[in-house]
């Protein structure tokens, strides 16, 4: 493991402040498999502990954790997809957890590349230009992603539910 660049206190403060947001992102990307979620969650905070980035403020720090959690989840999905394809032909069906309503399940069903932007925009309230900066994409791409995601969600739900 690389050297820790932050104090224990800094890490725990970030944990208290951002744990829920990171958890929601993990839930949005991953199945309700507790082990996967915990793994993604831990990896996100490990990355935070060793990263040297200076954050402008707490919002910047939180946004960084959200984007990092998304990336970690994608990595996990890629590796687990390979693993599962190799090992089994059929995945056991799980019942949806009780805290997931229809909208959340639809968000989960969105393509991976849309999810981070949807979360940052609709839940955390970031503008497209802010999301562009956070995710290193062009602003126009973010607008396109949000628009496509919204369209897909509309198809899955009735319009007034969004």
């Amino acid at each position: 493991m690389s050297a820790v660049r932050r104090t224990e206190e800094e890490i725990l403060t970030a944990y208290e402040r951002c744990a829920d947001a990171v958890y929601r992102v993990c839930r949005m990307f991953l199945t309700a498999d507790r082990a996967d979620i915990m793994d993604a969650f831990q990896q996100t905070f490990l990355k935070y502990m060793v990263c040297t980035k200076k954050f402008e403020n707490s919002e910047h720090e939180k946004a960084w954790l959200i984007v990092t959690a998304s990336n970690v989840c994608r990595d996990i999905l890629r590796s687990s997809w390979r693993k599962k394809v190799m090992l089994t032909d059929e995945l056991p069906q799980r019942a949806a957890p009780s805290d997931e309503d229809e909208i959340f399940r639809c968000v989960k069903a969105l393509p991976e590349k849309y999810k981070t932007a949807v979360y940052l925009h609709y839940y955390e309230g970031y503008s497209a230009s802010e999301i562009a900066k956070l995710t290193g994409r062009a602003e126009s791409t973010v607008y396109a992603v949000l628009s496509k995601a919204r369209k897909q969600l509309k198809q899955m739900l009735t319009e007034d539910e969004i």
């Binding site: 944990y15 958890y23 949807v118 609709y122």
Partner: protein, 500 residues
């Protein structure tokens, strides 16, 4: 029902939250302990290695003496021979042990005559800074770069060049060569070039950049272009429409007899401390704007009139209200102040407009007075003051340390009957670049300030929830931003989080 409501329902189970918190805390604690152990090990290994090296050198010397035929010790067969024989295998053993490799990251070199090399790791932190020639080694010999970011190390080295006289107001046409080797070094080169640009700006000089190769830059210090003052159109400012009026309302001021040089200098400079009531802007169209452009300035009680006027003018200037092609006259009216305060504000106005080559007119009134700044007034129609405050201030602006001292001495010998502190007067002053203290521990920030020759004072304060990245014992605020030009005479304030 919205997306937000749906996400709100997703709450981390308490048992998972607590379990993961414990794991994260444990990982942080273990990693911190590993780091500490590595540091301790390094502290123990280094002296041990030095001692071992001494033994080896001594043994080798003795060994060579023993092996050399005809020497006294070899001939006499004293126990020295035994020692040497015993030492020889140690030498052999050490020779076969590979030397620890020094980590090499990106190497950035700055050469102006002293040549300094920065070895930077992939996280932008300094591994080592070395002098590549005698002057370079001499330049950095008292600085400990351990744990410093490349940005702060670059600022520190450039400030050392200024404080050692390698970059001065007379450095026009001087070249500085920068080069970089290693992946991802282009950004570092630009950081270093920017630091040099800021340093030159402190002495009102520009920097030309010449790309001499893919990984090389040549910076040449140049004079800032002068504006053509003669091109001004001259007209009577009274005929001009009102462009903007700034009304500054003053109330009483405090007089204290000074016994020390700087107190007296400040008294003269500021011409009396005032309590400021208000600053009101009136634009030509009659629209009133209280604060407005100056909203970010602190005009609380206790500010001196000179400071206030200076800040007012500086902000107006920065916001483009004072230009050579102003559509009308800009009036600064002082209400309720004294003649002395008016004069001080006049001097301040002068400072701001003189470089622009635009006109300034002073109209003393029954209640203090009015300063009129316009693009077409005759420059400086106000009479000189007996104590040549303007000379002093203009000289300060031009950073001519010798002249400033001479003028200060003259003024102060009048003001304080020679009760000044000579040492303080003669202390050299430099314009240096402010390092980044944010996020450093108090100890690191103090060390960085001292290494850069910066006067500082520390405030311990509790940053509230709005700044909840404020970690205990770390710097949260510095009153001069990173990269800005600061004078070694100034006192820079930084604030440390004092409560969790």
């Amino acid at each position: 029902m919205s997306i937000k409501d749906s996400f709100d329902k997703i709450v981390m189970p308490e048992d998972m939250k607590n379990g993961l918190r414990t794991q994260v805390a444990k990982a942080a604690e273990e990693a911190a302990a590993r780091k500490l152990r590595r540091r301790r090990a390094l502290r123990m290994v280094l002296p041990a290695a030095a001692a071992l090296a001494l033994v080896v050198v001594a043994a080798a010397v003795i060994g060579s003496l023993v092996r050399e035929p005809g020497t006294a010790s070899a001939q006499s067969g004293t126990p020295v021979t035994e020692t040497a024989n015993a030492a020889t295998p140690t030498v052999l053993a050490l020779e076969t042990t590979p030397e620890p490799q020094k980590k090499v990251g990106v190497l950035v070199t700055l050469s102006i005559n002293p040549e300094v090399e920065f070895n930077v790791d992939e996280d932008g932190m300094i591994i080592e800074v070395t002098g590549k020639n005698d002057d370079g080694a001499e330049l950095i010999k008292d600085v400990d770069f351990t744990g410093m970011s490349f940005e702060n190390a670059a600022i520190t080295v450039v400030n050392l060049l200024i404080r050692s006289g390698y970059i001065t107001a007379e450095s026009v046409d001087r070249s500085i060569f920068l080069s970089v080797g290693g992946e991802g070094g282009e950004g570092l080169l630009e950081v270093l070039a920017d630091t040099i640009r800021s340093a030159a700006a402190g002495y009102e000089m520009d920097v030309d950049t010449v790309q001499t190769g893919e990984e090389q830059l040549q910076l040449v210090i140049r004079e800032q272009p002068q504006e053509d003052v003669n091109a001004l159109q001259k007209a009577d400012p009274n005929d001009l429409p009102l462009y903007m009026q700034v009304d500054i309302q003053l109330s009483g001021f405090v007089n204290t007899p000074e016994t020390r040089y700087w107190d007296a200098a400040n008294r003269i400079f500021y011409a009396g401390v005032t309590e400021l009531d208000s600053v009101v802007f009136t634009f030509g169209n009659g629209e009133q704007n209280s604060g407005g452009v100056l909203a970010s300035c602190d005009f609380g009680g206790g500010n001196s009139i000179a400071e206030t006027v200076m800040t007012t003018l500086a902000v107006l200037d920065e916001n483009g209200y004072i230009t050579r092609d102003m559509p009308g006259k800009l009036v600064i009216a002082l209400h309720g102040g004294t003649e002395e305060q008016f004069r001080a504000s006049l001097e301040m106005a002068r400072l701001v407009v003189e470089d622009l080559g635009i006109g300034l007119e002073a109209v003393p009134g029954s209640e203090s007075g009015t300063v009129v700044i316009s693009s077409s007034a005759e420059p400086f129609t106000a009479p000189e003051h007996e104590y040549t405050l303007s000379q002093l201030l203009n000289t300060l602006i031009n950073k001519d340390a010798a002249k400033v001292t001479e003028l200060q001495m003259r003024i102060l010998s009048l003001a304080t009957e020679e009760r000044y502190v000579r040492d303080e007067l003669l202390r050299p002053r430099f314009w240096i670049v402010m390092p980044d203290l944010i996020g450093l521990t108090e100890e690191e920030a103090v060390r960085l300030c001292e290494q850069n020759g910066i006067n500082y004072w520390i405030e311990h304060m509790e940053f509230t929830a709005s700044a909840d990245t404020a970690f205990l014992g770390r710097v949260q605020y510095q009153d001069m931003p990173e990269g800005s030009s600061v004078c070694t005479d100034w006192q820079i304030q930084f604030a440390v989080q004092d409560a969790a």
